[in-house]
Amino acid sequence: MQALIEKIGRSVGGVVGTLFQAGRDAVDLCLKTIIPFMAFVTFVIGLILETGVGDAIANGIKGFSSSLGGLMIVCIICAIPLLSPLLGPGAVIAQIVGVLIGTEIGRGNIDPSMALPALFAINPQVGCDFVPVGLALGEAEPKTVEVGVPAVLTSRMITGPISVVVGYLFALGL
């Protein structure tokens, strides 16, 4: 009997402990990464909305973001193997451009049907800065890393524009 009670008590404790730890991790992530980035992003949005900067940017990205061809050009530029590792870190560039385009969609300057292809167009460089580390995490041999890095970067030149088209097709009928 005592063993049973002990067992129940212990497993309930385990479940509660896991849930509590999960909550702690969640709040931790929110406080340490999500909210700080949110502060930065909202400041950028405030600047765009309240100053003339927004209109200048709008004219700049409108030409590129309102047609499939324009998004392809953005995508190909971001995927250039020399640029992509520079644009990659922390996805900061992709996030800023995402906010810029999102704000312009909200103001009615860009058609919302372009949202999905744009999500891919601004992001062909994802992880291009991280290839050696990512491969090392997968315990790849140095030889694999040596060839793998240029292979991934080259591949993005092809798959980047394809991803924009895939995004465009998936956005049909939205």
Binding site: M38, F43, A115, V147, I158, L174
Partner: protein, 178 residues
Amino acid sequence: MDALVAGAEAFIQVFRTAADVFVGFTTGIIPIVVVFLTAVNATVNFIGKERVEGFAKWASQEGWIYMPVRYTLLPFVAVFMLTNPVCYTFGTFLPEKHKPAFYDAAVSFVHPITGIFPHANGGELFVWLGIAAGVEAIGGNTTALAVRYLLAGLVVILIRGIVTDIIYGIMVSRKENA
């Protein structure tokens, strides 16, 4: 004097607007992310590392038939369960020659997944949220967009995996011949 006041007014207005947006994000995004994160973190812990690794071993087999599993299902599970950047450790289970392609597929999925499962990449939410906020502002359906982003992401990572696999193969054979 009036010009000065107008200038100050315009200056502070930037921060007022920013603060309004911040409040909107805080009440609109943070609560659901926190609750969701908690639930998923707990689920991941309950399922346990061993079971996930067992699946990874099955999914990382060689051969053309396993390609859709290797470059869609495996990255999905890796990113969902382990989140960015620990997900790339699943590369361990793959044959050496498929590791670059798996990395490419997995890393390309860390943003498409955030539309529905924000826990997977909490630090880089604004690729999705930035654009989604705009769509929401004009009354668009962001859930429909998120589902499509996820599905399109799965198609894209399959293509990326296959293309990178081929390019890696070509580069390796060229190097060996040189």
